[in-house]
């Protein structure tokens, strides 16, 4: 769906890490106050809030917002597993584009996989016997069969993302040396052909974004380029005869193509217009699938795109400039808003050593367990 007249007003995130000794409320409060400070406003200027997490207990969203003030604003909790952050931004954008709010907040937080009291345990049912990484490993198994993908392709892309994170002080992984594909291949196996260094760490953290009517953003941030939210598309699984009921944590990769098509059409742009992409690499073989599903290359050419270095820093279409899920980290709820934070920095020319030269148009993509896929497009004016 096209988003009319909405732009980013501010973003903030904590480092994604194991935040021992800090509560989910501490983390959410830090980014809530951080994003308001970034925009130069306080909660009295915010019309609606969309807050989210996958693992926090009930009521946390509304209670966390009290830390920022008591203005009576409507607060809606969003949960879409790994896609939560981008879905929260989608709803905040609609709150503004519909005219309900001049400014809306998207905020997400997570305290890692450590279960909070009262949230119950994992039922040892049939589906839980198949560990979640197996879902993605099965995609990789099939791709190796059909396309001749080699473990080296996966390792090369994982190393790209680990090394991108070395330029991002808020990333979970901070390698003290240039990571090589050989190192990735040699890390402990998880589910063939995937190794530990090919998968995203959970950790915890929080991230937030404010969106507002374009004229409000221009008034509050006159010296910064206007970064518009162009469009967003959220889909869930569609049936085809290869659909699998039990086991996969995520439906087929083609969900992403469906979301991308809708988002591109609504924005009136195509993949050739993109300057950078943030995508869902919870396991690195997803990155290859999504190159094709997002239209960064033709179907069957993702390995070639990777081999050419086209998606590495300085390449034709840099992917996961902040380290991606594999290395920036994937605390689940906040991940999408970390992507939006990176896009805001890149499209404002504030990304420092990882800046993509003259970045103007960016795509954020996530998939969420259940399952769903979301693609959102952003563009700097001028």
């Amino acid at each position: 769906m096209r988003i009319e007249n909405v732009a980013l007003l501010g973003t903030a995130m904590t480092r994604f890490a194991n935040h021992r000794g800090r509560t989910i409320v501490d983390l959410a409060t830090e980014v809530g106050l951080g994003v308001l400070a970034d925009a130069g406003i306080d909660l009295r200027d915010v019309g609606e809030a969309y807050v989210g997490s996958m693992l926090a207990p009930p009521m946390y969203g509304v209670r966390i917002m009290k830390q920022l003030g008591l203005t009576g604003l409507p607060v809606v909790t969003v949960e879409a597993a790994s896609a939560t952050g981008l879905v929260a931004l989608r709803e905040a954008s609609f709150a503004v584009s519909s005219g309900r709010a001049d400014v809306a907040l998207a905020l997400a937080y997570e305290h890692g996989m450590r279960r909070l009291p009262g949230s119950g345990g994992i039922t040892p049912g049939y589906e839980s016997l198949m560990a979640s990484p197996a879902s993605f490993a099965l995609w990789a198994s099939r791709r190796m069969q059909e396309r001749g993908t080699r473990p080296e392709h996966l390792a090369m892309l994982a190393a790209k993302n680990w090394n991108a994170a070395r330029e991002n002080p808020l990333a979970y992984h901070q390698a003290d040396h240039r990571v090589t594909a050989g190192e990735v291949l040699a890390s402990p196996g998880v589910a063939t052909p995937l190794t530990e260094m090919m998968g995203a760490p959970m950790g915890g953290g929080a991230a937030a974004a404010l969106v507002a009517r374009a004229d409000v953003v221009r008034r509050l941030r006159p010296s910064q380029p206007l970064v518009r939210v162009l469009s967003t598309a959220l889909v869930t699984e569609s049936y085809d005869p290869g659909w699998i009921a039990i086991g996969p944590s995520i439906g087929p990769p083609e969900m992403t193509a469906a979301a991308a098509r809708l988002a591109y059409d609504a924005a009136g742009i195509g993949p050739e217009d993109l300057d950078l992409v943030l995508l869902h690499d919870s396991w690195i073989n997803e990155e290859l699938e999504y190159y094709e599903q997002l239209g960064l290359c033709r179907v069957g050419e993702a390995e070639k795109l990777a081999e050419e270095g086209a998606t590495a820093p300085g390449g034709r279409i840099p992917v996961s400039t902040d380290g991606g899920l594999v290395a920036r980290g994937h605390p689940i709820g906040p991940t999408g808003l970390a992507q939006v934070h990176e896009i805001a920095l890149q499209l404002s020319g504030l990304a420092g050593r990882r800046q993509v030269a003259d970045a103007r148009t960016a795509l954020a993509h996530l998939v969420g367990g259940g399952s769903s896929a979301i693609v959102s497009l952003f563009q700097r004016e001028g």
Partner: protein, 139 residues
Amino acid sequence: MARVAIEPGIVALPDREGDPPRLLGCRCDSCGAVFHPARPVCLACYGRALSGAALDGNGTLYACTHVQMPLRPGRREGRDYWVAQVDLDDGPRVQGLLSPDIGEPRIGMRLGLALETLRVEENGDEVVVPHFRAEAGVA
């Protein structure tokens, strides 16, 4: 002591030990589409009339992975395991476990269904799960 399935609606246990188990599913009365497990509405034609079906579980291997990560609750300790996607002769593609004795599975190989004991409860009940193994008589 009795054998019990890991959860209802997944697998029908045979009355006699040694007979093959069946995967529980349904067939659409309108368009014939087959699903595992049973479901309330047909995904192909949205028909509401679906009849129970017991699927023999024979099929071909579509994709597989050898899982080496720490085991999930309920899984026997100290065991890595295989997960596979299988195109059933009856129609649907399903995901499930491969027999620990699968050796070196090959995509496209023929598979059949068997039961594996997951654990023995304190009351002596054996909790079983379905798994796929190389079809009898097929290398």
